[in-house]
Symmetry: C3
Subunit: 309 residues, 3 copies
């Protein structure tokens, strides 16, 4: 429970109200102890009609002349971001045991202060977890994997699996595992979705940069190097040794061949694919199709195809 004034301050706004706020909410489910937010005229109307005790609203709405005098209103440059900040504050340090009794943590693993490990999780020898990480139920952190501070790993994820690198015996066609003895490093504030798998490096390391967020059922192969503040949506697959630079956004089900290079700020549209060894560049530009091309070109090609007789 925080006062309206405390939450407004956290979000960079102001109010004199000292009403107690316990939770964030949809307008429809809001009571006097709830914070809601409004980014457009319709959601502002819903917020004002609700029982919410506090409303974060976008300044842009005020600028259009819609500036009601409701004392619950706090005007913010980015109301949604402020709402997320307040939501984090209200969640508090998180409930649950620091280390669930059913978790299996090797004696040689190191867990930073405030780090919590869920039921059935397995932390192997030599793994190092930073401060205030949250490791979900049934997560596996393999031997020697390193996590920075405030990392979140959801249920069932596997960190530091053996990479998929084989050498083919020419005469027999049999495959022999290439050594997969490298490591995996997650920098600070990395968040990993449920049942996602990230392989350790073969001889070197796999690395996920600070602040990068990875959704459910994603596969990241050995020796990949992912930059900072990258977003990787569900079911994306990165083959080995890909480099993804800072600020890239990868939509769902995208596939990258091995040794791809995705330049800073690129946006790869859903289901697009990049062939092995290729480079994609263009900050803020959206790519689509397989092999990925600028989305405008891709759309023109599809339109041309439909015009053919």
């Amino acid at each position: 429970m925080k006062t309206a004034r405390e939450l407004a301050q956290i979000a960079g706004g102001e109010t004199e109200s000292t009403v107690g706020i316990a939770r964030v909410s949809h307008p429809a489910a809001a009571g006097a102890d709830a914070l809601v937010f409004a980014q457009d005229a319709a959601s502002l109307e819903a917020a004002l009609a609700s029982a919410a005790g506090l409303i974060f609203a976008a300044e842009a709405l005020a600028a259009t002349g819609q500036r009601p005098a409701d004392p619950r209103l706090v005007w913010l440059h980015d109301a949604k971001y402020g709402f997320a900040l307040a939501g984090r504050e209200l969640r508090g340090p998180g409930e649950g045991s620091a280390l669930h009794p059913s978790a299996v943590v090797d004696d040689s693993a190191t867990l930073g202060q405030g780090t919590r490990v869920g039921a059935g999780a397995v932390i192997e020898a030599g793994a190092v977890l930073g401060l205030e990480c949250r490791i979900g139920p049934r997560v596996v952190v393999h031997a020697g994997v390193v996590l920075g501070d405030r990392c979140v790993v959801q249920a069932g994820a596997v960190l530091g699996a053996t990479g998929f690198g084989y050498v083919r015996q020419r005469e027999t066609g049999e495959y022999l595992l290439f050594p997969q003895q490298g490591t995996l490093v997650l920098e600070d504030d990395v968040e990993i979705g449920a049942n996602t798998t990230i392989d350790r490096g073969a001889l070197g390391e796999t690395r996920i940069g600070r602040g990068t967020k990875v959704d459910n059922l994603v596969h990241i192969g050995h020796n990949c190097r992912i930059g900072r503040n990258v977003v990787i949506a569900a079911q994306v697959g990165l083959s080995g040794s890909c480099v993804v630079e800072d600020g890239v956004v990868i939509a769902g089900q995208v596939g990258l061949g091995d040794h791809c290079h995705i330049g800073p700020g690129v946006v790869l549209g859903g289901q697009s694919g990049v062939y092995s060894g290729k480079t994609v560049r263009g900050p803020g530009e959206l790519f689509a199709g397989t092999p990925a091309e600028p989305a405008r070109e891709h759309m023109k090609s599809l339109a041309r195809l439909r015009r053919l007789k």
Copy 2:
């Protein structure tokens, strides 16, 4: 063990035979205690030549004049469906402990009568499971998730994970989690495949309608609303806030952007994709490609492309 007569009745057919039937089988592996089924001339021949004690055969075969006098035969409108009904009957209420000692079930979770929970499963606080559910090994049911009656959840599935919703801080490019505090509801008779992940709603709920079947490694994002008797094959990915209406069939590896709307009875072909915010309509119609278009149009486009010089 049931008599042939009992099983025939369950399937909507008749026989005077009281031979004991213990299992369903392939003709090749059938003994006198086995039921087999036949839907075409070839499988009828195999069934008659087998040692099976009971044969469910499609009435359409009898109509074509092939109506042998074998006393093991029971004629049914839908022999395969009858076979599946008999198979369910013969499986019985299911073996295994009601609650495996290695499962971790929170004291505040509620389990309906006849519900069984497998080894290493984790049921968190406030979760509610209906009657006669089967929760496989290592399943995670997160806090507050609600399952109806007779739901089946296979090994490793994660129900109620934190959704992938972030707000970007404009100046720094950093991402902050948007509150993901909603819930997930599975209605009666929903079945979920191995290692599938379904996220809880952000502020509202994610809902899977009655009788819907979901295969392995599927991802369903926060706030999706799936109708009744929907089929979702392996590795399909649904981004947040999609609406999928009753009777839809989604083939393997299909991807939906956020806020898609799939009308009742639509069939999305394998690997097809629907862009964010788009609607697909047409009961019983097959769609293909990305962006998804009627399959006939898609095939014509591909054919035109190959004719080009």
Copy 3:
């Protein structure tokens, strides 16, 4: 720890050196106890400049005149394969407990000598595991599944899940599970990636041939029959009853409809798709696109499309 001479012999080469080698390494991280390998001029230079105690180098390099007299060098026909052989030797029989105390192994399951089972793994009734298998943490081996010798199953994989086969009730549109009571057989030397799911047969069996390697997050449906020495990369999905013959290579995110037949030695490129019931043939030939066609044809089609005005 092995001597240089022992490791050279294992790889099919020769040296008089008896220096002790404890590990394989990158040149950059190599010390006197490390083996490195060189396949081209650049990596040979790096190897020679490193502190490595032993260097496996490709004979082809010697043939080009680059045959330095460094006593650490061992010339091999396939230096990378030799390096992998040495790496396997140096890993030894593997650390860790034979059977982790947190694993749940049914009394009726059979584990061959030298087989190790990781933390939280679940081995159900009647499962049979051969000699020297390595079962990772939280793996599920369902009832009756059979593994040959030296199989490796990584964390979170689910072997023998219930297949996704339903019969639709015509009047109500409801789906009823078709019996899924068959089994799953992994032959010798099969390796399975993290969080991969493989379904048991419906009435018959699903079978993965000797020496086949499967990456993370792959789905293999019921009744599939996979040949020997097949490679299946991450996130590939095989619908039910597919036949994949010996030596096939399937790149990431490929999707096969049910009842496909992939001929020996075919290479399916990343994200390609094969429609239900189709056959793809051509040893060593690369296929691309959906529906999959020879990659050269596919590239020509894409080029034609871009030339259109």
